[in-house]
């Protein structure tokens, strides 16, 4: 018996030793797991939509100030008689404001100059310039603009391309090189000035507003005007007897984004509004804005598409949500009293 014990004991002891060591490892893993995940759950927390609204300092704001262009029919146009703004940018601003909790009469539009779109300064005609909360002004998203301090773009809300407008009866322009050596008007701050310059066009770009190019075009000082198709289509549609729109077939596309400045929480909320508009099949506000403002311009523009008639893709914004708000991977906006009323009306249409 003792011999059996002494030959069996070492193996049994070894087994027990490794068993205990394994248990120690398991204990350490369990402690690390519990403490680690406990701390992780405590600290990691995606903001909820209300958290973002508080962070964006929207609580207590009585009005949303939006900088828009005022001289482009169909995109952002201020009626001189009534002072009322209309256009695609205006409708997109209303779309975003509604999701932020502002009713249409709580949104104030002011005209912004093209060079102030980065600084987000608007002027109401009395007193010093005001800082806009959002800038929805055909502001194309480019790397150069993103590098600028204080410029932060939301996801794109419209995709268009550069095109050319001439007087009616001008020879067809199929490429910018067809205008080589001729004077062409564009904006100093525009993304259209460098492709034009590269094509050998005489770029006359000392205008602050694109509508300032029109008198020169009509007088013959300029041969053509070049900028985004969505903008030119508006002018052509307003006076189809005077102007003609040409498709120059540039590959690069212009993506319009909303400038939210340094307010990152606001940028996420804007992206959330655009994401819902894109992915919720019941949300047709973008399509309605396009049909109201840009679709009617297409016949006058001929072969040049005014813009892509589908909302550009928007990346998902990660926020905490109630499970029922996450139906089928689409995030529904919580209904405010107005949206309920509006949905009720539109379903009868």
């Amino acid at each position: 018996m003792p011999e059996e014990d002494s030959t069996e004991a070492p193996r049994g002891r070894l087994f027990r030793h490794w068993g205990r060591a394994a248990r120690l490892t398991a204990l350490l893993i369990a402690l690390a797991l519990v403490v680690g995940t406990g701390l992780y759950f405590w600290w990691q927390s995606e903001p909820s939509e209300d958290d973002l609204k508080t962070e964006a300092m929207l609580t207590g704001k009585s009005q949303l100030l939006v900088g828009v262009l005022g001289d482009i029919p169909g995109i952002g146009y201020r009626d001189p008689a009534t002072g009322v703004y209309s256009g695609f940018d205006i409708d997109i601003a209303y779309l975003v404001a509604e999701d932020l909790g502002f009713r249409p009469n709580q949104v104030r539009f002011l005209t912004i100059e093209n060079e102030d779109r980065g600084r987000m300064l608007v002027n109401d005609g009395q007193g010093p310039p005001l800082a806009a909360d959002l800038v929805v002004a055909s502001y194309s998203i480019t790397d150069e603009r993103i590098q600028k301090q204080h410029v932060h773009f939301s996801a794109p809300y419209l995709e268009t391309e550069q095109s050319v407008m001439t007087l009616k009866g001008h020879a067809p322009v199929s490429d910018l090189s067809d205008l080589a050596g001729k004077p062409v008007c564009t904006l100093t701050t525009a993304t259209s000035s460098s492709p034009a310059g590269q094509a050998g066009v005489l770029v006359k770009g000392n205008k602050t507003k694109i509508s300032d190019c029109l008198p020169g075009l009509l007088s013959g000082e300029y041969d053509a005007v070049t900028t985004d198709a969505a903008i030119l289509a508006g002018f052509v549609h307003a006076r189809p007897d005077l102007y003609e729109h040409h498709d120059i077939g540039l590959v690069a596309s212009e993506m319009y984004g909303i400038n939210t400045g340094d307010n990152d929480a606001l940028r996420q909320l804007v992206n959330l509004a655009l994401y819902r508009s894109r992915n919720d099949p019941k949300d047709t506000r973008w399509e309605a804005a396009y049909d109201r403002n840009l679709s009617p311009e297409q016949p006058d523009s001929g072969r040049q598409p005014v813009a892509i008639n589908k909302q550009p893709k928007v990346d998902e914004v990660r926020i905490r949500q109630w499970p029922w708000e996450r139906l089928a991977g689409v995030m529904h906006a919580p209904l405010t009293a107005d949206r309920r009323r509006r949905r009720g009306v539109s379903s009868g249409r």
Partner: protein, 292 residues
């Protein structure tokens, strides 16, 4: 401060404390018991007793049983595997300590039982684990996946030399840091109801909305604590309308569900009837006046 003490009753503060911290005592009792028993099992032959092992030894079984049931109802669903792991640890170590001469029983309770329970747990939680991995929520997936695997290993002794450190260090750490954690949790608890008051305005002027937590209302004035922590007195005559704003609801971080129960809910929350969170946001709660 005086205003709060005068107007917020001690019963309100205590009930707020109880409701927020209800899940906390089992967090200290159960792991403490488990670590104490582990120390006893590892150093039964060799070592002296310590404060932890004495406490573990003297705690009656019914206290542990009640604490386990308390934890089962008040802990979130995602922590139930951890609870089961700690309970199995306690049960297995107790069996080992009380029945040293019945190896079959020890094997059954310390290995067989955890394995059986692990199978049941995986049957219940596997869809949730898969969903958590799919969503990229690794921490959640691990805390559902690992405890059933670790439970069979934790029901036996560890090397005697390290037993003291391995069991007393976490227990002492929890005892030292615990009070700070409790204070941190309690300070986040809401006590006063948040309201929005819309004030009277002249026609043509946009009405103002005041947001804050009501401290007291008397016949002339409403006293509010606004979001900056300042006290505001609003005469009742100036108030046009008021509305109770639902406080920051506990919106879950994770969308993972186990059989239609959110992993971030506790059993108590399913059992008690509660009004669902408001689906409509009143514009006054965001600081903007209501349209007439």
């Amino acid at each position: 401060m005086l205003l709060l003490v005068q107007n917020v009753g001690p019963l309100d503060l205590i009930s707020s404390l109880v409701i927020t911290l209800m899940w906390v005592p089992p967090v200290f009792i159960l792991p403490g018991q488990a670590l104490g028993l582990l120390f006893l099992a590892s150093t039964r032959e060799t070592g002296p007793e310590s404060w932890l092992s004495r406490t573990a030894d003297r705690t009656p079984d019914w206290v542990i049983a009640v604490t386990v049931m308390w934890a089962a109802t008040s802990w979130q669903l995602r922590f139930v595997p951890v609870l089961v792991m700690v309970t199995l640890m306690i049960v297995g170590l107790s069996a080992r300590l009380r029945n040293p001469d019945r190896p079959q029983l020890i094997k059954a309770v310390c290995v067989g039982l955890p394995l059986g329970v692990a199978v049941l747990e995986y049957l219940w939680f596997t869809p949730a684990i898969k969903a958590a991995f799919a969503n990229g929520e690794v921490a959640l997936a691990l805390i559902l996946l690992l405890p059933p695997l670790l439970a069979p290993l934790l029901t036996g002794p560890i090397p005697a030399r390290v037993a003291r450190v391995a069991t007393h260090a976490p227990a002492a750490g929890a005892a030292l840091l615990g009070p700070f954690l409790l204070v941190a949790i309690f300070l986040r608890a809401p006590i006063l109801p948040p309201v929005a008051l819309q004030l009277n305005a002249d026609p043509g002027v946009l009405p103002k909305v005041v947001l804050g937590s009501v401290v007291t209302v008397d016949d002339t004035m409403t006293t509010l604590l606004d979001s900056d922590g300042a006290v505001r007195f609003v005469p009742n005559g100036q108030v046009a309308t008021k509305v109770l704003c639902p406080g920051e609801e506990q919106i879950p971080n994770s969308a993972v569900m186990a059989h239609e129960w959110s992993v971030e809910q506790s059993a108590l929350e399913w059992l008690l009837p509660s009004r669902g969170p408001q689906k409509e946001t009143d514009p006054r709660c965001e600081g903007r006046p209501e349209e007439p």
